[in-house]
Symmetry: C2
Subunit: 353 residues, 2 copies
DNA sequence: CGTCTCAATGCAATCGTTGTCAGCAATTGT
DNA sequence: ACAATTGCTGACAACGATTGCATTGAGACG
């Protein structure tokens, strides 16, 4: 049997073949219980035979809503974001939704234009890794279901899927402290995003719990979430006088970790012998590096999947009260962390301080 | 001024405010030259004021075509594919098109379902990294513009954007030969995809040009395009008797390179001292590894951008004859390749062979 | 001055689907 | 046997934009 040419078969073609009205065909497909069993089966058979594919444009127009959900992330080249995207797509796929990705590169203009495009498609809902601008942007789509992921925009009654950042950071510090490190630095991300603030909080909590004092110089903020900022931040740490120089570094996200690595590589500092390193976000390459990286692994795919599931509940029932879900992370121990060198070695230069 | 609620303003709202018919408003927006200048300006002002956003569902329904282009790739987690996606999206963004990504994981079922979803959206065109199944699948959408990228499906009169794989491989072999390597192995991808075949051809050409004999055992096919296959292939190479064991390996894509690395790491073989390594596809982490990787860098973003541009020409003029565009690659020399050890070192164990 | 042309605009049909309403036949209750 | 109910179905009017055709009025020209 010849496959029909793409997209040419319509409801009324089916209706004609089945000797019923288009209404009945439509019902047979969307409300099977409102159609006689025999009719239903006959129609389904013909639909199959003619390879009918509903025109979602017409459907969306009529229903005033499409089966499209938007996903706004900063950078699809970032493993963490890409994995979230996969999780979202897997969930959407099962429910028959289509995902539209928007790569904003942290640029509010692009974010705005993408939201407009989505709006033109009468999208059903949105999953977003919010930036500072997002809150204001989202206000325009107040009636649309939104799930935030990774960070929180601070919108009231929002639905948010987060990693347990505080606990993660505490675990990292505990691990390093146990290895004998006392001078532990943090290369933080932007403090204005909740993720950065929480991770910093966890770091401070962890230090306190380990009974370690925090030198303000050890907190090196990376201006942006990119490799260059990480590089600069680590450079600043390396300029500290020997007695204050950290023996371990905790980098708050994968981009920044890359920058830190480059800085260490350039300064010919051996990891972990001269400097222990812990990163946020796992990835294929973190395992393959030499040394392989000790990292906090976030359940990115699950976060994406959960966010999508939450979004679908929200689409079905828009009045659900806001929720915040926190997922546990896993500290994956690899080769980039090791016991601190003997106190002699590290204190020999501390006469400077 | 209050922003209107998302999506509620329609053509007739504008028409009413401007004291004209909806036809005129529509024309003012899509065919400005068919409307009096004064009317045009007045309408545009009102459109602006009321924040009108066209309903693309209605438009698509009427025009029987949407402003959506599909992009089918195997794995968004693969840097090469993700970069292509970015290029495509950048080009689409400028033209007002929306991109729908399909992650197939090389699964024909997923590919088929994604094409169906696109079809239901009356997509305007498709960019695809074809698999073996694609040719057959695409036959159903004969009237739809398609651009193939990275590989060729073998469809007649197809539009294809490729990297110059043969030349790339030859350059790799020449580089290794110049470093004194004679036993150069190739961890190939699937030979049934054109990319794999071409890279293999380039390897063979390169060896011939360098005056080097090829031991069939040096050609280690990776069953699939994934890390595990690369690992296994490298394991097989390492089992070769010392006299036949390669001193350099050329891995045909980035996934496979990862597997090769893992295998080498497990066998505690030093790169590049004991084994030189060249990979295909550059990425952020290839630069940060220790040693950093010598690779063939494909212009992935440009490939995506070009593919999209080609697609738009094709949408405007579907009868353009097929074209094949080949882009040059760049061999990026880094730390993973080095001169071969002295003949003594490598032949000392060759008594076994 | 009458007719012809042409630019500008309006009218109305249409794209394919959905949902409301009403109608019809068969079944049930009395 | 008749009314009430129930189960299916069809007719029809949207949804919002586009577009071929008809209409209008102003200016050109004989």
């Amino acid at each position: 049997m010849r496959q029909s040419i793409a997209g040419s078969v319509t409801l009324s073609d089916i209706a004609e073949r089945a000797q019923v009205s288009t209404s009945t065909v439509s019902r047979a497909l969307s409300h099977p219980d409102r159609v006689a069993r025999a009719t239903h089966e006959r129609i389904l058979r013909i639909v199959e035979e003619m390879n009918y594919q509903p025109n979602v444009l017409a459907r969306g127009l009529r229903r005033r809503q499409s089966m499209i959900v938007g996903l706004v992330i900063a950078d699809i080249l970032n493993d963490f974001h890409a994995t979230i995207a996969k999780g979202v797509q897997d969930a959407a796929y099962q429910r028959g939704y289509t995902v539209m990705f928007g790569n904003t590169d942290e640029d509010p203009m692009r974010e705005e234009r993408f939201l407009q495009a989505l709006n033109q498609h009468r999208f059903a809902g949105l999953i977003i890794v919010p930036t500072e601008r997002s809150r204001e942007l989202l206000a325009r789509y107040a009636r649309t279901p939104v799930v935030e992921i990774d960070r929180s925009s601070g919108r009231e009654d929002a639905h948010v899927i987060l990693a347990d950042n505080v606990a993660s950071s505490r675990a990292v510090v505990a691990h390093l402290a146990q290895l004998g490190h006392a001078r532990i630095a943090a290369v933080t991300g932007s403090r204005t995003v909740t993720t950065g603030a929480e991770r910093l909080q966890g770091y401070l909590d962890g230090m306190r719990e380990a009974g370690l004092a925090v030198d303000p110089g050890w907190i090196a903020p990376a201006a942006r979430h990119d490799e260059a900022s990480g590089f600069e931040a680590m450079q600043r740490l390396l300029e500290l006088p020997a007695g204050r120089r950290p023996t371990a570094v905790f980098a708050f996200n994968n981009q920044v970790t890359a920058g830190v690595l480059r800085s260490l590589k350039r300064a010919a500092i051996q990891v972990p012998q001269q400097m222990s390193l812990v990163g946020f976000d796992d990835s294929r390459w973190a395992q393959l590096m030499t040394p392989s990286l000790t990292v906090v692994a976030q359940p990115a795919r699950d976060m994406g999947y959960l966010a999508a599931e939450r979004l679908f509940s929200l689409i079905a029932n828009p009045d659900l009260p806001g929720t915040v879900t926190r997922l546990a992370t896993r500290l994956v121990l690899r080769e980039s962390t090791a016991a601190v060198l003997s106190a002699a070695g590290s204190s020999s230069a501390s006469t400077v301080g």
